[in-house]
């Protein structure tokens, strides 16, 4: 019984406990302990990160001559760590008062616990895939488990979930076709066999499977043309469910892409694989898809008026950074991309938890009906503040380190336009996260929110744990970079030479210990300078300069709607919803196709039509 078996069994146990005790109030607490046990089981395998070896699971069987094996290496260990901790924190969030209110409002708490446990189990199975077949099986399990998590809230989430599953099914069929093509060449599903065939395949032959696999995995990662389903699906999932999905679910696509692109095909091959009759290589295509995935969703998020939709759109945008970093292929870029997976998981979960806490207290996430909550919900404000600093990628937090690595690799590789695209994405994020925190927590406190209280401890604890993690990994990025160095060694990427504070290289290093230290020293001096002045006198919210006007509580003077009018006047006409038009075009095309094929089998008298086809088949077989 290898450590991997213990992990899988524990995860199975969690699902069983969720089924049995999910509806009971103590059930959530039990589940949290089992997730903690899973985390412990994972720590047993922590040895994977420092030397590139593999732990195989004893669970393996053969069907029709194909052997299915499960094994863990540093890459899957890293993703499993994020998955299990995301599951742990969201279950801790659900176990407390949020769960009680969710059940009281008619939500199915039992199904939510089961869905999260199933998601974690299926993700662990996907991460452990030893060969292409298990990869596909794990992929299907994950997409169905997340479908279950999305659909359980009912109402608008059903429509979003069905849209997701059509995308996922399309993606899965593409992956199956890709695998079939590879099987055609290698007639075996194991990774080494697939690897040496794909190395030697000619470009014409290689393009088909590569394109199909990338499209398939791109659906889950919400790459640009296939991203329309994710925002609505994640936003309408109940609070902690959305946090779990936002943190890790769409990164499974990235894991599978790394396995296929880097381990099987090999990044060197991808870099110089030319696109037919054009001068650009496959890497440029992927890089520009990633760059546009950064820009368009971020500027769509800028216009959202619902906090959850805004965060979900940012989830798609940040996925672009991860792919951009990986596709660069050098030590810095891939380290930046991989570290961004961890960073994004931490602050995206913290932000979704904070928004769920505000929805728990005020009942709405509409940015035009909130305001001034910092005076009533300071801890949720703190969690959101740390989250948005991380999401925007500003110095003290970990988001900055991974974005710095991506920028530095773009600089070294000499890609000015990609660099500008990434910076435009970051600035768009800064604008929209300030709109988020300003409309929710700053400005005028409404009369009806005057006596709400801070969210209960069971909800603020996970938020604050995540905020501490975001800050600590920002201060000492070396902790995460050591796992990433292990991954780079196993996956075959150039390894990054990291130090505890960050990266020290000849062409300009980053030492977050010094940068954050100096920043806080500056804040200290600023505080000394500030408190050397006179004593401050706090004044009431209405004691405000309004051009000689007497402000009163019934006037709503909080500026929140159409928050960036100047910018929108300039780039407003660019929002032509062209991707939504593309999607509806594909939809109507498929509808037309299905209508025309209907003509064949929906006859007035189906019987004789069946007879004719049977005779034709017989003839064909005979000849």
């Amino acid at each position: 019984m290898t450590p991997l078996d213990y992990l899988l069994l524990l995860s199975l146990l969690t699902v069983v406990i969720a089924l049995v005790a999910g509806h009971r109030s103590m059930g959530g607490v039990w589940l949290t302990f089992t997730y903690a046990a899973q985390l412990g089981g994972l720590m047993l395998m922590a040895g994977l990160t420092n030397q590139p070896d593999v732990i195989t699971s004893s669970l393996s069987f053969t069907i029709l001559g194909q052997s299915l094996t499960w094994r863990y290496d540093a890459l899957s260990w890293y993703f499993a760590l994020i998955t299990i901790s995301a599951g742990l924190l969201s279950t801790m969030y659900t176990a407390g008062d949020w769960g009680e209110k969710f059940r009281a409002d008619g939500g199915n708490l039992w199904l939510l616990h089961v869905a999260i446990a199933l998601n974690v189990l299926s993700m662990l199975i996907l991460l452990g895939s030893g060969d292409l077949l298990t990869l596909f099986i794990g992929w299907e399990l994950v997409s169905w488990a997340s479908f279950l998590l999305m659909i359980l809230a009912g109402g608008p989430s059903i429509q979003a979930a069905i849209r997701y599953i059509t995308y996922a099914m399309g993606g899965a069929m593409a992956i199956l076709a890709g695998l079939a093509l590879i099987y055609g060449h290698t007639d075996s599903f194991t990774y080494p066999a697939a690897a040496n065939i794909l190395h030697s395949l000619s470009t014409a032959h290689l393009w088909a499977p590569l394109l199909l696999l990338t499209l398939g995995f791109g659906v889950k990662m919400a790459l640009l043309p296939l991203h329309l389903w994710q925002a609505a699906a994640y936003a309408h999932t109940p609070g902690p469910g959305a946090a779990f999905l936002g943190a890790i679910s769409s990164r499974m696509g990235l894991y599978a892409l790394i396995v296929v692109l880097i381990q099987l095909v090999g990044l060197v091959r991808v870099i110089e694989l030319p696109v037919l009759f054009s001068f650009i290589s496959a890497r440029d295509v992927l890089a520009w898809v990633a760059a546009f995935t950064i820009i368009f969703p971020t500027f769509t998020a800028l216009r959202q008026n619902d906090a959850r939709m805004l965060l979900a759109w940012h989830g798609i945008g940040q996925g672009g950074y991860m792919l951009l970093g990986l596709v660069m292929g050098d030590a810095l870029g891939s380290a930046g991309g991989l570290m961004h997976v961890f960073n994004h998981a931490t602050y995206q979960a913290a932000l979704f938890f904070s928004v769920a806490a505000v929805v728990y207290r005020t009942g709405t996430a509409d940015l035009n009906r909130l305001g001034g909550l910092v005076a009533r919900m300071p801890l949720s404000f703190l969690a959101m503040l740390v989250g948005i600093i991380g999401l925007a990628g500003l110095p003290p937090m970990n988001g900055f380190v991974s974005k710095w690595l991506v920028y530095r690799s773009l600089m070294l590789e000499g890609e000015p336009l990609l660099f500008v695209a990434a910076v435009v994405g970051t600035l768009g994020t800064i604008l929209s996260v300030y709109k988020l925190i300003h409309n929710m927590f700053l400005g005028q406190l409404r009369v009806e929110h005057e006596n709400i209280r801070e969210a209960p401890w069971s909800m603020t604890a996970p938020m604050l744990i995540l905020s501490v993690v975001v800050f600590v990994t920002g201060l000492m990025p070396g902790l995460v970079l050591q796992w990433i160095a292990g991954i780079q060694a196993t996956v075959g990427l150039p390894v990054i030479d990291y130090s505890l504070g960050g990266l020290d290289s000849a062409q300009g290093s980053l030492d977050m210990l010094w940068v954050v230290g100096v920043l806080f020293a500056g804040f200290g001096i600023g505080a000394v300078l500030f408190y050397s002045g006179g004593r401050t006198h706090r004044v009431h919210q209405l004691d405000n300069y309004a051009g000689g006007h007497f402000l009163s509580a019934d006037i709503r003077y909080h500026y929140s709607d159409n928050f960036y009018p100047g910018l929108m006047r300039l780039i407003g006409p660019l929002y032509r919803y062209s991707f939504a038009w593309l999607e509806s075009a594909v939809q109507s095309g498929l509808g037309l196709l299905s209508l025309s094929t209907q003509g064949f089998y929906r006859r007035v008298a189906p019987a004789n039509y069946a007879l004719v086809t049977a005779v034709l088949v017989l003839l064909w077989v005979m000849l």
């Binding site: 000015p416 800064i430 300003h438 400005g443 980053l510 940068v515 100096v518 500056g522």
Partner: protein
């Protein structure tokens, strides 16, 4: 680099920055006065303003976040000063490159944005939304210029960039090697300073000085100190990127004052652009020039 040496540098650099910044603010107000054919303020006027503001009796605050906003505004710039190498003192420039400096320069404006948010004043919120849009506008040419210079110098460490430019005197200055990037940088610098044509977020007549609407006493004093740091930082960044940094203090100060004087002379001749015109202008010319400059640098 032993700890004591670093400690001295970390305290000395902000002080030098503040004093030089005071004289830059004085130069700015004198130039403005001369353009309007006025006498202009006396020598130590900026210092008197700051002393008076810190000495006021009642300090009005709207909450703890309002105070933290000002602390982050001043503290952010103090931290940014230590990353700017000056003759004789390199601070932590080698530990944090150009990109980190560009980000640390964003921390003060975002801290101030949080502070102004809690003042719950619609003028402040409108001012902040315009300030962030202007930041989105002027950061793109600034980043293109950083890319060009870092690509040409091979490293994004300011100390190396300065060393590279001081190799053989004027001929190796950034402005001579890459004139297009230098001009794009000057244009972006003008927008960063937020002086007149790009002053939409302080528009006194429309939104009562935008973010500063509820800042009195030591809050306004903190913002005046931040203005000194802002002018100094803008001047020093440009000199170290394009004018070969400082061999000795004299030439360094002359270059920094000259760099800051250019946008200010232009500033007081122009009325205010609307927000979208600021974005359209800054995204059109400096970005194009910067990209062409990079094209020259790259091959």
């Amino acid at each position: 680099m032993d700890a004591l040496h670093i400690l001295i540098e970390l305290t000395l650099m902000p002080l030098v920055a503040f004093v030089v910044g005071l004289f830059m603010v004085l130069m700015m107000r004198r130039i403005a006065a001369r353009i309007q054919r006025r006498v202009g303020p006396p020598l130590l006027q900026p210092l008197y303003d700051i002393l008076k503001l810190y000495g006021k009796q009642t300090q009005i605050s709207h909450g703890i976040l309002h105070d933290i906003g000002i602390i982050m505004a001043v503290g952010g710039y103090i931290a940014a000063e230590t990353m700017l190498p000056v003759p004789g003192m390199n601070g932590i420039a080698d530990k944090a490159g150009l990109i980190t400096l560009a980000y640390v320069l964003m921390v003060p404006s975002l801290g101030l944005a949080l502070g102004v948010g809690q003042c719950a004043n619609p003028n402040g919120s409108i001012g902040i939304s315009r300030a962030l849009t202007a930041m989105l506008a002027y950061d793109i040419p600034f980043v293109i210029v950083i890319f060009g210079v870092a690509w040409q110098a091979g490293s994004n460490n300011l100390v190396d960039i300065i060393a590279l430019q001081q190799v053989d005197g004027i001929a190796s200055w950034g402005i001579v090697q890459t004139p297009l990037l230098a001009f794009a940088g000057l244009f972006a610098l003008h927008a960063i300073l937020g002086k007149h044509p790009f002053e939409i977020y302080i528009a006194p007549a429309e939104i009562a000085t935008g973010p500063m609407v509820e800042m009195g006493g030591k809050y306004l004093g903190g913002l005046f100190v931040m203005q000194c740091f802002q002018l100094y930082t803008a001047g020093v960044i440009y000199t170290s990127l394009f004018l070969g940094g400082g061999e000795n203090w004299l030439t360094f100060l002359v270059k920094s004052f000259a760099v800051v004087a250019v946008p200010i002379c232009i500033a007081y001749l122009f009325p205010r652009f609307r927000t979208e015109d600021v974005v359209r202008l800054v995204w059109k010319w400096p970005v194009m020039l910067g990209l062409i400059g990079i094209a020259f640098v790259m091959n």
